[in-house]
């Protein structure tokens, strides 16, 4: 059982590393990765709770252009191993996730640097018209990104459980308490990153509206989602920047498919 768990966890770690660079299926997002580690190790509930908490923290971690974000993959996998297999609490896991995310960020920058060599090797083989070789260098780089998470995961797994619990118990109460308080704050950084990406002076109005409505606890997120979509559709219909030249004619009917769909609402 233990052996199968370890193999499964290493496999999940590898896939999370692969996804951390691809950013397609989102296996590396905490809510998926931690839940999977929880399932593989027989502690599904802890994995699920850790995943939910870390997901909120990681909301704003995004790779834009050439900038590399804190690494959700290593944070999720390593702290999920510590929580589900090494007896750390979910709160400990959240506090540990931040330094792990930064370590992962450094590792991915490292791999992204050494793959420059793959680009040059691919150039070389391209002159021979070899599709196979180009594919090989491409997928080989992907394997490196997978190992970037799988190797640290194996290292953590090789540390005996009692060392980890001893180390965790050695942390003084003021530090764990303080980290738990700080852990509650840092979701705000994620929110701020997301807001910064979208905010224009006009759109702050919608932020204010959401803030005011948040106090109405009867409205759950699904109801809020419906309100938000309605607001968005109304905005597109009525905002002046989308209605230029429509002074008297109403709909412009310029063959814009989304326009037609939206006008049907």
């Amino acid at each position: 059982m233990e052996f199968i768990s370890i193999i499964l966890v290493l496999l999940i770690a590898f896939i999370a590393g692969v996804e951390g660079i691809l950013d397609e299926f989102q296996f590396h997002q905490p809510i998926v990765a931690c839940s999977l580690v929880g399932l593989a190790t027989g502690n599904p509930t802890e994995g699920l709770l850790l995943g939910g908490s870390l997901q909120l923290i990681a909301l704003g971690w995004m790779n834009i252009g050439a900038a590399v974000a804190p690494d959700a993959a290593l944070a999720s996998i390593a702290s999920a191993i510590l929580v589900t297999m090494r007896g750390a609490s979910v709160t400990d896991g959240i506090a540990l996730a931040i330094p792990l995310a930064i370590a992962g960020q450094v590792l991915t920058i490292f791999v992204r640097t050494i793959t420059v060599a793959a680009a040059h090797a691919a150039d070389q083989k391209a002159t021979e018209g070899s599709f196979r070789a180009v594919e090989f260098y491409h997928l080989g780089s992907l394997v490196l990104q997978g190992l970037r998470i799988a190797i640290p995961a194996a290292l953590i797994l090789s540390v005996p459980a009692e060392y980890v619990t001893d180390a965790l118990n050695a942390i003084p109460a003021w530090l764990t308490g303080g980290l738990a308080v700080g852990g509650g704050f840092i979701v705000a950084v994620g929110y701020a990153m997301v807001i910064n990406m979208m905010a224009t002076p006009k759109l702050w109005l919608f932020f204010a509206l959401g803030f005011a409505l948040a106090a109405v606890s009867e409205l759950n997120l699904i109801a809020m989602g419906i309100i938000g979509v309605v607001l968005a559709l109304l905005y597109i219909q009525f905002a002046p920047e989308f209605n230029q030249g429509g002074g008297g004619g109403g709909n412009s009917g310029g063959g814009d498919p989304l326009d037609d769909i939206l006008n049907d609402y």
């Binding site: 691809l22 704003g60 050439a66 002159t127 599709f131 929110y191 807001i195 905010a199 989602g225 597109i236």
Partner: protein
């Protein structure tokens, strides 16, 4: 080679390209970024369109140039490039510069569309919704997140690639024009609205600093010691317990000392004011180019100091 018969890429070829486009970033490198990934995605088409070693080598070289955009928005560009390659293989005068021009010309504006829609709106909103389920120990959280995200993503990859393939060069106008702008704006409205809700609801911040503590009169609080004594003497009745539970539900204090914390006062003023100010401060710091990691460490320091000084709990 002027009068080559034109080879049309089959749906199967195009599906193959779309599947491979999911691996666009596998060999992301700091020199030419998604360049090998782009060539990797184009290979099924190049294999069909060109048979001589020389043509293939040139094709690979052409597609190993610098490329970087939002990974999903590469799909419409791939679609356009497939059309261009088809025509080039049929003998039309399309030089390398033209193909590279289309790629470079499209990747900038499209990345500017994909980042706010996918990274800043769809993923945070879906992730926050799924996390709220997960925190309630509901497994639908991760399942919904994974399925809904991938459904949206795969549909987007395939249909925008087809759009690019069918429309060819016209697509640039379409995507960077009205349609995409509307999508971006609409998504941002939804995103800002949801963020306004999440900030007060899900930031854990408790100003536990006691502002006043009042000793309550007998009868204004639930006397648990008294109840325990009654129970030991066998005098406790069901009716009495029911009365106690009702008192608790009506908000009668459960301890003889009523403590008012800073948090209680803030809540009567405006619920969520603390998280709101914190988030606005973070927005401001990020605009001052302070790195998110620095802010996170700063917040941990504040958390530890606040905890030690008993301002926060």
């Amino acid at each position: 080679m002027a009068e080559n018969k034109k080879y049309k890429l089959s749906k199967r070829d195009r599906l193959n390209v779309a599947w491979r486009s999911q691996f666009l970033q596998a060999s992301w490198n700091f020199e030419r970024m998604q360049n090998i990934g782009w060539a990797y995605a184009m290979i099924p088409a190049l294999r069909k369109l060109y048979s001589s070693k020389e043509d293939r080598a040139q094709g690979l070289k052409r597609h190993l140039e610098f490329f970087n955009t939002h990974p999903y928005l590469a799909s419409p560009i791939l679609g356009v490039t497939l059309t261009l390659e088809e025509e080039r293989a049929a003998g039309k005068e399309i030089d390398n510069a033209a193909i590279q021009g289309v790629k470079i010309g499209m990747m900038g504006p499209l990345a500017g569309v994909g980042d706010p829609i996918f990274w800043a709106t769809v993923r945070p909103v879906l992730g926050a919704f799924a996390a709220s389920l997960a925190l309630g120990e509901n497994w639908l959280g991760p399942i919904i997140f994974f399925l809904v995200w991938n459904l949206i993503r795969m549909a987007f990859l395939w249909y925008t690639q087809e759009l690019g393939y069918v429309q060819g060069g016209n697509i640039t106008e379409n995507l960077s024009g009205g349609l995409m702008q509307k999508l971006t704006q609409g998504a941002s409205v939804l995103g800002m609205f949801i963020m306004g809700i999440l900030v007060p609801r899900w930031t854990t911040m408790n100003f536990a600093l006691p502002l006043s503590s009042v000793n309550l009169q007998e009868g204004e609080y639930i006397d648990f010691d008294g109840i325990a004594q009654m129970a030991n003497e066998g005098a406790l009745t069901g009716d009495f317990l029911q009365g106690v539970v009702q008192d608790i539900q009506n908000g009668v204090s459960t301890s003889p000392v009523e403590v008012t914390t800073l948090q209680n006062t803030l809540d009567t003023l405006l619920p969520g004011i603390g998280p709101l100010l914190l988030t606005l401060a973070c927005v401001w710091l990020l605009r001052k180019k302070v790195s998110p990691i620095t802010i996170i460490f700063g917040l941990f320091v504040i958390g530890i100091l606040g905890f030690v000084l008993k301002i926060f709990a």
